[in-house]
Symmetry: C2
Subunit: 500 residues, 2 copies
Amino acid sequence: MTGKHLRFQFESITVSTQDPTALFRQLENQIREAIWQERLRAGERLPSTRHLAKQLGIARNTVINAYEQLALEGFIVTLRGSGTRVTDNFPPPSKDSTQESDASSISIKQADFSERYQALANHEIDISQGGQGTARPFRANIPNYFEFPRAQWAQLMSKKLRQKPDSWMERVHACGYEPLRSAISSYLGVSRGVSTTAEQVIVTAGAQQAIELLAKLLINPGDIVCFEDPGYTHAAMVFELAGAKIVTIPVDEDGLDVDELQKTISEAKLLYVTPANHFPLCTTLSQSRRQALLKWAKETDTIILEDDYNGEYRYRGRPLPTLHTMASDDRVIYIGSFSKLLFPALRLGYMVVPQQLIEPLGTIRWLLDRHSPALEQIVLTDFINHGHFSRHIRRMRSLYSERQKALVNAAKEHLADILELPPLDGGLHLIGWLNAGVEQKQLITAAASVDIELLPTSQFNFKTPQRGGVIFGYAPYNLEQIVSSVKKLRTAYWQSKNEC
Amino acid sequence: MTGKHLRFQFESITVSTQDPTALFRQLENQIREAIWQERLRAGERLPSTRHLAKQLGIARNTVINAYEQLALEGFIVTLRGSGTRVTDNFPPPSKDSTQESDASSISIKQADFSERYQALANHEIDISQGGQGTARPFRANIPNYFEFPRAQWAQLMSKKLRQKPDSWMERVHACGYEPLRSAISSYLGVSRGVSTTAEQVIVTAGAQQAIELLAKLLINPGDIVCFEDPGYTHAAMVFELAGAKIVTIPVDEDGLDVDELQKTISEAKLLYVTPANHFPLCTTLSQSRRQALLKWAKETDTIILEDDYNGEYRYRGRPLPTLHTMASDDRVIYIGSFSKLLFPALRLGYMVVPQQLIEPLGTIRWLLDRHSPALEQIVLTDFINHGHFSRHIRRMRSLYSERQKALVNAAKEHLADILELPPLDGGLHLIGWLNAGVEQKQLITAAASVDIELLPTSQFNFKTPQRGGVIFGYAPYNLEQIVSSVKKLRTAYWQSKNEC
């Protein structure tokens, strides 16, 4: 096969305009094959493009294109004075399959991963947490995007795309598109009682990124960060990656147990809390605990991160003022999200920060990924300013309240022998607390067998929980879906139980 | 003023439908004022909503709305059994102005910032680097978005917004929208000779975020990361924030000085390099140096980060194969950007990584900010697959080449006594090397006085450069703008020179 008589003859190349493959590709493929078969050897010289073109009766540009592609792929190289030659390190026929099978080509190993990442990997995070694609019962943490006013959104977007100047193609400030910051600041005053200048509002790629930016700005390795348990483990992981030490405080029906906090923790850099709508229990931090928490924070000089995600959704009782509103100083950083209010693929959130943090956070955001895409920021601004946003939230509030009731009733009727599903004052999900004798894993597996998703609450526990629970998202599912899915779940569970 | 006779009389509240302010706002404003004036004191009880509504002859809902807003803002609180009362920690009349002036309310201080951020802050980064808003001569690192095929882009976007299913509202994989990963992998094979599966392509929020993700995955504090000097300082800062130690290697007309690298560095975790188009010098790393670099990397077991940003733009000579193509193992991670090819506000880039890095990078991205917005990923996929992308790049390549020539000629004619502006094989900018006696700062200030932006190359030097230089971006400016701006610059410089 490598004998001289098999030497590649450039004259033997055949290219045809009948072939649907472009001429230069036909040429390129034959030369590549010849190199792999060693009929063209390393160091061998190729004819000049002019010569080969003439010989094959094709345009010189066709040959140039083929040579350029082969050069790019590392098969040939053109050196001044010595013409175009076959390289001695051209890629093998199928690089990828080789890479997978050949251990010697694997140069980046697990041991090369950072220690912090390796520690994190032990948590076994599901990277597609909550899943991709279309929402289906009872996947949680998803708003009812099926009834998002898409027509208005599309109209606002189309208008911007057509308009001059092309501001949607231009860079915006790392801290966010200024009119959006202004719209958010007005909205927060009216709807959440949060008083802030537009400048103090920092737009982020979802609430999640706000946490990352703050971790980068504020956390030194070894710093203590307090979390509710159960709580938002994904935020805790971000702080862990930044080197923080996570300390947890239990939660009861009035939210974070501030008594316990006062008793056990005398020093911390930061405390993360979800007062309006605890994640994942959807309880509300009581007024007296809010005051006690702020007092503790002042005494221990701790920064508070108030995640007010979905604070808009409260179905019963008066909303309480936010910690940000109540604080007598500027130690409360307030975080909000649009992805959880409008649609999941919209990656926009924000935080309200004291004056002295604006520029540092902008610098870090600039280094991290510059800024959020301009178009979405511009369209969201109009969406808020034209009143679509508030209208949508109001509509969803009454819809979600109705759906929650339907879920509670359906569970009472069909699932009472499996779990208890009490109503909650806020949030987009309920928690099914398992009856004694019901195995969490069995229930989740049975649900999956009929295409129903249940997430264990234990995913958000730092320590082992006392009672098993599963999360029932309800916001994006209509009454018919809710009732029929509850029935399906019942059947599937008892079937799997009988099969055991 | 606090005397009993001044006590607030709820009967004295006046609301009028003639007033354009909503009734509940009128009510709310008067109660808030009374609290600030201490005519309503902490602990004092407000009348019930029913009672006050009757007294004022307005709907009860109006009073409820006003009370809810005041409660949200922390002025009043409703407790079971004791009615609605004024709180003892209501916010002062203008919280923001107080915050700025009153040092006691500032609780987060510079000393609270992380040590790494503080070290970084010494670099004096301009967070709006390159500026916001419309591009103007000679701002650099901006593609010619004025001739971006906006009509096609808008059309593809409008189509998606109208279509069911609503995939643009749904979550996508943290590693990117799968069809986009596939489109990028095909594109890279054809245009850059990079062979990769779709799975190995990770979509990021611009190339900048790729660097952040890799730093998080691979860097332990103290790890050595090598950079070209001059080089992409913004990437170096990301590694510094992750705790890396930056070591630099000089660059000459053939790119990174690999001889020097071999002589001085025997151990490193990672090396960042821009072989196709050095940043900011726009030189090309020679073929022999590429081979030597790969050899060094293998011997020292160093991971190579090949930033191929704008590798598409090469105006003279054959493109060389990428390091990723040439490597015999999987130690080269390849990075590319769309923001620098299409328009700056599009925050999309990608990296090509070995198999074993896909999942870890997905996990980190998920924690960082979930994923890039779905809509832009979907539209970009169509834009590539329908051929608009390649067509645009081809068009821009010949346009940029023409603009570069115009800039070189204009500088020769008008700026020869100030600087030397040699043509370059690639990139979107040229470098004006200052003649002896020309002060960089004076030139930049003179330029700014006539609305011309020049960036000093020193911004990208780790050590003090030997010769002063300024960067002339040319891609987004037409021939008329280029010539007239060069003339304006000449006049402004000599004017400022004479004024000295």
